[in-house]
Each structure stands twice: as C-alpha cells, then as structure tokens.
Symmetry: C2
C-alpha cells in the first residue's frame, strides 16, 4: 500500500483560486470515500449506524454559534419563522445528545449547531459537520456563524457582518501546524452572501445599526483582546488603547474568537459562508461585559433575525 512520494495534492497557492461551490458538497480528502465507517465522534453519529442521506440530504443552511442554549433557542425561533410542522407528540431534539460536546438541531433544511469557544473547538465541529453534509449528499449549502463579539467604535448591540477575518496580528489567514509544518489557509469570505445579508438589514425599523467590516479573531479573550481585567496583564491602559485604536483605524469593526477558522475552512471547502455577530460592548470604552442579562439576550437575537431573514428569502417564505 505504498503511496507515491509526491502525490497530486493541491497546494495553498492553487487553492487561492478556488471558487465557492454551487453544487454537491465535496471533501478535500480522498480517504473518506474509501472508509468502511466514518465515526463523527464529537456529535455521536456515524455513516454506518445512521442513514445520514435519509436524515440530512435536504439540508441547505448550517448555522453555527458558540453557546448550546443559544443554538437551541435559534432552532425554536426557526420553527416559528419557517413554519416548520412539528407532529403532535413530537419535539425538537438534540441529534448530538450521545455526546455532551456540541448540540445539533435540525429545522427543515436548516441545521443549528453549537461550536463552543475558540478556533480549536470550532475546528472539530466544522470538520464533522462538513463530513456530515458530504455523507448526506447535500447540494448548494451555505454556512453561517452567528455569534457575539466586542465592537470597536460601535454602539453596543450593533451587528457586524464580516467582510474579512484576520488574526490578532491582522494576518488574513489561519495557521495550522500540520505534520511539523505551519500551513497558512486564507480566510476569505463570500462577498455576495455578505452583501445579501446587508441588504436585509433595515436600520430604521431595526432600531440598531448593521455594518460590514473586518473582524479580528483572537486565540484568547483577555490578553489576546488587549483586556486589562484578565488574571495576567503585562501592559497598561495606554498600551491597550494605542493598540485598539490602531486596529480600529485599519478597519476592524469587532473582535471575537472563531471567524478566522470559519472563513478559512469555508473557503477551503468551497462552501459559501458568512459571519454575523452582535457587539456586547464597545471595546474603545471598556473591557467588562456588564449589561443586564435581558438586554444581552435581545442583542444576541439580532444576528439570528438577520440570518433567519436570509433563509426565508432564499426559501421564498412570506
């Protein structure tokens, strides 16, 4: 079973011209098609134990978000919005309940999935959801991340649609240490989906603003985002403000912890993807998140509403 030493795999440079895919979901891994069984370990599914085609082939939209509770609420919200019929005596249930790592709900052609916090946690579920929609034979799927973030120069509660994701040093790619090398995967997002989302925001009636801009994605919530209130802090208020202002001046609208991986994996998979986050505070004004729970609940529902509008429009509902 010896493989040739130089095998025909596309390099990152070749991938740079990769066009978002409109068609059947394909994997950039030839091994999967030849595996007897593929266990999607962290969502407790398998292409042998379950009939994934039967269960998921109609999926057109996958919505990822950090918190399991929020993604459950989003699923319940979509039942109403998409007028999905739930039979008497039945209820939405967490398809991934065999694992306690993530939650996974299906609402008609939409999946609502939690991804936890940070790039590694998102990475695991992204791999497994991508394999899921591949095994299911899905077509023309769009991925969304709906989340929370710290804003820059925006009123708290504003919504940011990510134009481009960059890392904590403003680099527009995700680095993945792979077999002793650091590979860089460009984090481009689909501009058409972003513009279509933007067209559905109605600031006048919404009562809050929605903007398109760059998102900085960090590996840490405290030092990585220049907070002064972590357990460790080796800089002062002046250093912090200088950094945040420089970042703001270069077009960064908000800071969170997953967009870079989400964008890089969507681009690499040839899947159209968009990131929509609410801002829980203005980082140019402070570090701590202290707004009342009820207020933040409403703010967190804003990206959900926007993505739901997009899905309804695409499905021709209303």
């Amino acid at each position: 079973m010896s493989s040739p030493k130089f095998h025909p795999i596309k390099t990152n440079e070749q991938l740079a011209d990769y066009i978002p895919q409109c068609g059947k979901v394909e994997l950039r891994n030839p091994n999967i098609a030849n595996m007897e069984e593929d266990v999607l370990y962290h969502i407790s599914l398998s292409n042998r134990t379950q009939d994934l085609k039967e269960m998921f082939s109609d999926v057109k939209f996958v919505c990822f978000g950090g918190s399991p509770t929020r993604m459950k609420k989003f699923a319940e919200f979509l039942v109403e919005e998409l007028k999905v019929k739930i039979s008497a005596g039945q209820a939405l249930y967490n398809i991934a309940q065999g694992s306690d790592r993530y939650v996974l709900y299906k609402i008609g052609p939409v999946l609502s999935v939690s991804h936890g916090m940070g790039i590694p946690s998102l990475s695991i579920i992204f791999h497994e959801i991508l394999k899921l929609v591949y095994h299911a034979g899905c077509y023309d799927v769009i991925f969304f991340r709906i989340g929370t973030s710290g804003g820059l120069g925006l009123e708290a509660g504003s919504v940011v649609i990510t134009e481009e994701a960059v890392d904590g040093l403003l680099r527009p790619y995700m680095e993945v240490p792979t077999l002793g090398m650091i590979l860089q995967h460009p984090s481009k997002l689909d501009q058409e989906v972003a513009m279509e989302l933007m067209s559905l925001a109605v600031p006048a009636s919404d009562g809050y603003s929605t903007v398109i801009g760059k998102t900085m994605c960090t590996t840490d919530f405290y030092e990585g985002q220049a907070r002064l209130d972590g357990a460790f802090c080796d800089y002062n208020e002046e250093d912090k403000m200088a950094f945040l202002k420089r970042v703001y001046a270069r077009g960064i609208c908000n800071i969170e912890m997953e967009s870079l991986c989400f964008a890089a994996y969507c681009y690499r998979a040839g899947i159209r993807g968009a990131v929509v986050c609410t801002t829980l505070l203005d980082r140019l004004k402070g570090d701590q998140i202290t707004s009342p729970h009820s207020v933040m609940e409403e703010w967190q529902a804003r990206p959900q509403k926007l993505v739901a509008s997009f899905i309804k429009k695409r499905l021709g509902i209303e």
Copy 2:
C-alpha cells in the same frame, strides 16, 4: 491617569526563574485589586454580587476537564471519596449555571470545572478561575487537568501524567499574540506533583499502566494530530506515520488539545499544576475512536481516580 511609558513589569526571561508558589494566590495583574467590581462573565459570578471569600476561601484543589458531564460525574465521585456531607434536602449544583459556557461544582475543598475543547476555551476559564481563587483569598492551591488524549505506543486506556507539554512543532512554550506581538510563555509543569501522582498508581491492581512522559498539544483534532479522517487532508498514510513515529521517538506519549496552555498558565501564575490524561486509542494503530461507550467511560474514570487518590492523601483521608 497617564502611566509611565516604561513600567516595571517582569519580562518572560525573568519569569523563567519563577518558583511555584506555596502560599496565597497572587495575580500577575495589578489592575484587578483596584477594580470596583470584577465580573467573571463566563461563569456568571462577580466579586460584588457574591461573597467569594465566604464561598470559596477553603478551596485547595481545582480540577479542570473538557466535558461538562464528566466534570459533574467527577464531582459526584468526590462526594463519595471525600465523604463530603450533603445536607438533607440539598444537592450538588452547578455554581456557573447562570452561564451555559462552563460548569463549576464545589465538593468541600475541591472545585470541579469544565473547560470545553482547545486552548482558547481553557484560557478563558483559567483566567476566571484564577481570579476566583484570588478574590477568595485561597492558599496553597493545586490545579489539575484530567482529560482524554490519543496515545502513542501505549495500550488504549493507559494513563499519561504529563512531564512537559509541547506544541505541534515540539516547542515547549505557548504563543499568545498580545497587542501586536507574539509572546512566548514557557509550559513547565511541577515535577514534584507529577512524581507524587505517579507514586499513587498501582499497575498491578489497577490493571492498566500509568506513565510519565511528554504531551503534545495541538490546535486541531484532525490535521493538527495527523489524522487521515478529517474533512481536509493534504498528506497520506506514509507522511502521517513518519510524523507520528518521529514524535514518538522524541518522547511524546500522548496528544491532546489543552496541556500547553494549562502548563504555561500554571507556571506563570506560580501555581503547582499537573495534567493526567487517559488514552482513548493508540495513534500508531489508527485514527478513529470506536471503542464502546461503556469501555471509554471506564477509561475516562482512571485519571479521576488517580487525582482523587492524591487529594485524599493530601487531606489525610483513609
């Protein structure tokens, strides 16, 4: 409120001589002591809303683990092991239940905390737990990570006590992009605690082996750990095996996704820390985790038992 441009903060080089602390927990952030309120956002606690001293000042051991369900079970296990009295009509409850990000249980002098998956998720909860034990005025605290991993050259179900944590390129430090710089924090672990844990393993009666060795910590479960079964894979079986064997030859016993940050933060905080993980498979033999649920449950209980033995010994129980 202008601060001096060059302020007296210890550099990483000075920190390299930092001695594990036996005494009151201190923070390497002078700002916290001067804050009117410190909201520990992701565990839904605050030093103003709650009396953290009253609640937590007796804490001596903090046990972190990825899965919320597993850390709840560990809490229940400790109630039995430490013979903690639960009053009639009362029950263990998740102190962090105001947030759905992490779980936090208190069992006498022990905290059982979930950290989710990957370094960023662990980083957030570590910052907040460290601030918690600081606000509570705790003394002589020891931190543990009890988790799961992929083993190298070990029978599945073996237990690894981490001697040193390294990243995916074998570097013994954690890189944190901080205000536009990449800072490196050494990931040293306390050797005394590791040896004391090792002395409590009894292979003959345990029925499985416990070893001390190096742990590789990656930012990704699939490509970062040289798996062939992710949604993306740009290498083949030969490349994978060559990498894993080279890593194994350099003393790496297991691979997981949090030890580097755990070790780096413990060292930086001057807190004695140890990482104890079970191995769910031998990565020199495969990628997929396919053992029956009940078998894996028993394997996952092994690091819990070892850490419970340590705690009991220290508390003089039995």
